[in-house]
């Protein structure tokens, strides 16, 4: 099939402002990944087209972008998931809410700054088990935070969040997901400090439960649910609820 890629281009080295450019590709297979099409444009037609990518199968989080108006990983969307027919049109632009460095590449620093602000690391200064072995954790306790361990920090959720667009100081869903991963880990001891950060005006209460984030997540994390659980932990105080 034939595909026309309509791509938002911008290179501040030479362009006054962003513009749309069209590239037409023939002999596209319905199960080609959008990332493959971007590569074909870059390799065969215009080497200046710039985007990030690495793993090409949806696990490294490099290639979040807006595809036909929704945030996706380019390597995890097949053409046939977007449209069918002889001539398909696909529109691609950078994620919203972060400064564009060039073409589809945005400045991730503010995103990672929010991430770092929630203490996204394991804290437990208790003495280690005397037998020199692992700390114990029941499968049920482990299951409580399984979903949020899947996050690959692609920013698809945060950059689809209207609250984040309105106010870039909002920590955003991804940071809350990361906080959840530790708050609900029965081995971790720093839940109180994380909740303190998230209780701030730019913390969890900026979330208006609009669900964009959940539908954007390529890892199918139930982002809104994680946010609700963090809010619940805040109301309850820090104690880990026992899984039933």
């Amino acid at each position: 099939m034939r595909v026309t890629m309509r791509i938002r281009r911008f290179n501040p080295e030479k362009d006054q402002k962003p513009y749309w450019a069209d590239y037409t590709l023939d002999q596209v297979e319905p199960n080609d990944r959008v990332l493959e099409l971007l590569h074909r444009v870059k390799w065969e037609q215009d080497g200046t087209l710039s985007f990030r990518r690495s793993c090409a199968h949806g696990v490294c989080g490099s290639d979040g972008m807006r595809i036909n108006g929704v945030n996706r990983l380019a390597c995890k969307v097949l053409v046939n998931a977007l449209d069918s027919g002889d001539h398909v049109k696909i529109q691609i632009e950078p994620m919203l809410g972060l400064h564009v460095i060039k073409d589809l590449i945005v400045d991730m620093e503010p995103f990672f700054e929010h991430y770092r602000s929630v203490m996204p690391y394991f804290v437990n200064d208790d003495p280690l088990p005397e037998d020199g072995r692992e700390r114990l954790q029941s499968p049920a306790n482990r299951a409580q935070f399984d979903d949020t361990t899947k996050c690959i920090l692609c920013a698809c959720c945060t950059t689809s969040c209207p609250s984040f667009w309105a106010n870039g100081d909002y920590v955003g869903p991804a940071a809350i997901v990361q906080a959840h991963r530790f708050i609900y880990d029965s081995r971790d001891n720093a839940a109180a400090e994380r909740l303190k950060v998230l209780r701030e005006p730019d913390g969890v209460w900026r979330c208006r439960t609009i669900f964009n984030c959940t539908s954007a997540c390529p890892r199918e994390i139930e982002v809104t649910r994680a946010i609700a659980e963090v809010k619940a932990a805040m109301r309850r105080g820090v104690k880990h609820p026992d899984p039933e």
């Binding site: 710039s50 490099s62 996204p120 072995r133 700390r135 482990r142 399984d146 361990t149």
Partner: protein, 599 residues
């Protein structure tokens, strides 16, 4: 040009680089440089598990792990290194748990373990549960956990800085040159010690499980500065990549009971490895698939076989084997969620209900920068260190994996030897002074970038790359012939010539010039392809992942040696076969002596 000074500079933020950084940064001023954001590193894609003889579910011992490693490596593994790997694996995995890694748990709350190819109890007996796992995203959890701890410990990162040269002053390594991808500016990092942890080079081949960014930069950079590449002829083809795409389907699928089936509906591994069948080591299984395909027994005559993990099939074989265990759809959903997701997304195939189409995929480089047990680069047959240079992880060759790596042993390697190198580096830096930089340390590489940027030839990088990948896939893959390898070598040399004289790229800007960097990476891939083909052609035997029709047998008389490849002044390669394999375990224990490998 900006110059930075750090005592220790670590290149690469995958498992090996981050583990080393955690240790080195405790004692000396350390910087980590990475062309990707750390969490994008390929360690994050590792699926099945990390091997350690914890014995949480059944008896296991480090000696058995060492034995499996040596046997799996087809007796080219250095045995002192294999023992260190197996012994320190236990504390390494425990350390990861203490750092917060969310392993799956047994009902007692201990780290859960599963079976994996080539892991056995009692020196080659029945399969043993040794792979410690967190669903099928163990690597993701390792990468996240280590990066999180680096944040906690305020490790200094230079993200999206691409290292392009090593700076030597006589016989000492004094730093590296990097390009800040964001604005194209060059930076010099002046250091007492440099550690390369730049990962693999699967992009040399057409079908691969490896990321686009796995282009062997560290190996090519050090090689160009006179450091040999060791054992490059040994590159592992994983038996189960998704047909045509190469995306990996973890061995954990077979560990959970999945089986390989040919067009006749036959579980063909029963013929090739009667005792452990589908869980034989990777080279054995990949060759078996290749032979099935050659014999026309691919599914519908095409170049793939089926990997079947549907409960129906698995339970049937479990019953046949007299095992009590049975599985159901839910079990597969919780054990292999990402694998199911890949197949559903990319193939529209649901592995709970139907088999997956698979073919061997280029996966892992056993060779690399030769090092000793502390990660110091050693540059000759008598293991002389090059002061200030270290390597760890996939780009290094200790060598634990010998001629064929066992599944789960790479992650173990990253943690065990990443930790050792980080420690040793810190000690070394504490006792060393900064050696002055040479004049104009970035001059040469700057000229090379300038050349690529302004070249006005006719060949685009992707055309050259595709040609290299195809010829390497065809002739330096699972099965090799002398004429094929020679053809590959000639082709690669012709492509190298084109790269030098007939290249053209489009992007001449400074900012995020991925066109330029991809072209530069292609130069690395070509150097590696050349060394791989030349090393393979010279090794006149079949061993592990290196298997050829004209020398079908392993030759222990002549070839119990590592290959060292050096660049020569006239642009050629000098091969050296004088580095014997360490056989220290065999000296004390008969069972470690080289013998025929049957599974």
């Amino acid at each position: 040009m900006q110059t930075h000074q750090y005592e220790a500079v670590i290149i690469g933020a995958g498992g090996a680089g981050l583990m080393a950084a955690l240790y080195a940064s405790r004692h000396v001023k350390t910087a980590v440089i990475s062309k990707l954001y750390p969490t994008r590193s390929h360690t994050g894609t590792a699926q099945g598990g990390i091997g350690a003889a914890l014995g949480n579910l059944e008896e296991d011992r480090p000696e058995w792990h060492a034995f499996d490693t040596v046997k799996g490596g087809d007796y080219l593994s250095d045995q002192d290194a294999a023992l260190v790997l197996a012994e320190e694996a236990v504390s390494a995995v425990i350390e990861l748990e203490h750092l917060g890694l969310p392993f799956d748990r047994t009902s007692e709350g201990r780290i859960s373990q599963r079976r994996f190819g080539g892991h056995t109890s009692g020196f080659g007996g029945s399969p043993v549960r040794r792979a410690c796992h967190a669903a099928d995203r163990t690597g993701h959890m390792i990468l996240q956990t280590l990066y999180q701890q680096c944040i906690k410990n305020d490790v200094m990162f230079f993200d999206e800085y691409h290292v392009i040269d090593l700076i030597r002053s006589g016989d000492t390594v004094v730093g590296v040159v990097a390009i800040n991808i964001n604005d194209g500016k060059l930076h010099v990092f002046h250091s007492k010690a440099v550690l390369f942890a730049t990962g693999g080079w699967g992009k040399v081949w057409e079908i691969t499980s490896n990321a686009h960014t796995l282009t062997g930069d560290g190996n090519a950079i050090t090689y160009r500065r006179g450091v040999p590449m060791q054992d490059m002829e040994f590159f592992q083809f994983h038996p189960t990549g998704i047909y045509k795409m190469g995306i990996l389907i973890t061995e954990g699928v077979r560990g959970e009971g999945g089986v390989l089936i040919n067009d006749r509906g036959e579980r063909f591994m029963e013929r090739y490895a009667p005792s452990i069948k589908d869980l034989a080591s990777r080279d054995v299984v990949s060759r078996a698939i290749y032979l099935e395909l050659e014999a026309g027994r691919g599914i519908k005559g095409r170049r793939y076989v089926h990997l079947d993990v549907t409960p129906e099939t698995v339970n049937r074989y479990l019953a046949e084997a007299g095992e009590d265990r049975r599985i159901d759809a839910e079990y597969i959903e919780t054990r292999l969620p990402d694998i199911l997701d890949f197949c559903r997304t990319y193939l529209g195939v649901d592995p709970v209900k139907e088999p997956m189409p698979v073919q061997p995929t280029a996966h892992y480089g056993m060779g690399g920068i030769p090092t000793d047990l502390d990660g110091r680069a050693v540059i000759d047959g008598s293991r002389t260190p090059l002061p200030g240079l270290y390597a760890a992880g996939e780009c290094a060759c200790v060598s634990v994996h010998g001629a064929n790596r066992l599944g789960t042993n790479s992650l173990t390697d990253l943690i065990v030897f990443g930790r050792r190198s980080g420690k040793h580096m810190a000690e070394y830096c504490q006792g060393a002074d900064f050696v002055p930089l040479p004049d104009n340390p970035a001059g040469e590489v700057e000229a090379e970038l300038q050349r690529i940027c302004t070249a006005s030839g006719s060949r685009k990088p992707y055309e050259i790359r595709a040609e290299m990948q195809q010829i390497m896939m065809k002739h330096v893959g699972v099965f090799r012939t002398a004429s094929g390898m020679q053809e590959a070598l000639d082709t690669v040399r012709r492509l190298q010539e084109q790269f030098k004289t007939d290249l053209v790229i489009d992007d001449r800007g400074q900012r995020f010039n991925t066109d330029l960097l991809e072209a530069w990476e292609l130069g690395c891939l070509l150097d590696i392809a050349e060394v791989t083909a030349a090393s393979a052609l010279a090794r006149q035997e079949s061993r592990g992942a290196h298997s050829r029709d004209d020398f079908p047998k392993r030759d222990d008389e002549k070839w119990m040696v590592h290959t060292l490849a050096y660049p020569t002044d006239d642009g050629g390669i000098r091969l050296d076969h004088n580095k014997p394999v360490d056989m220290s375990l065999a000296e004390k224990d008969e069972r470690f002596k080289a013998k025929e490998r049957v599974y």
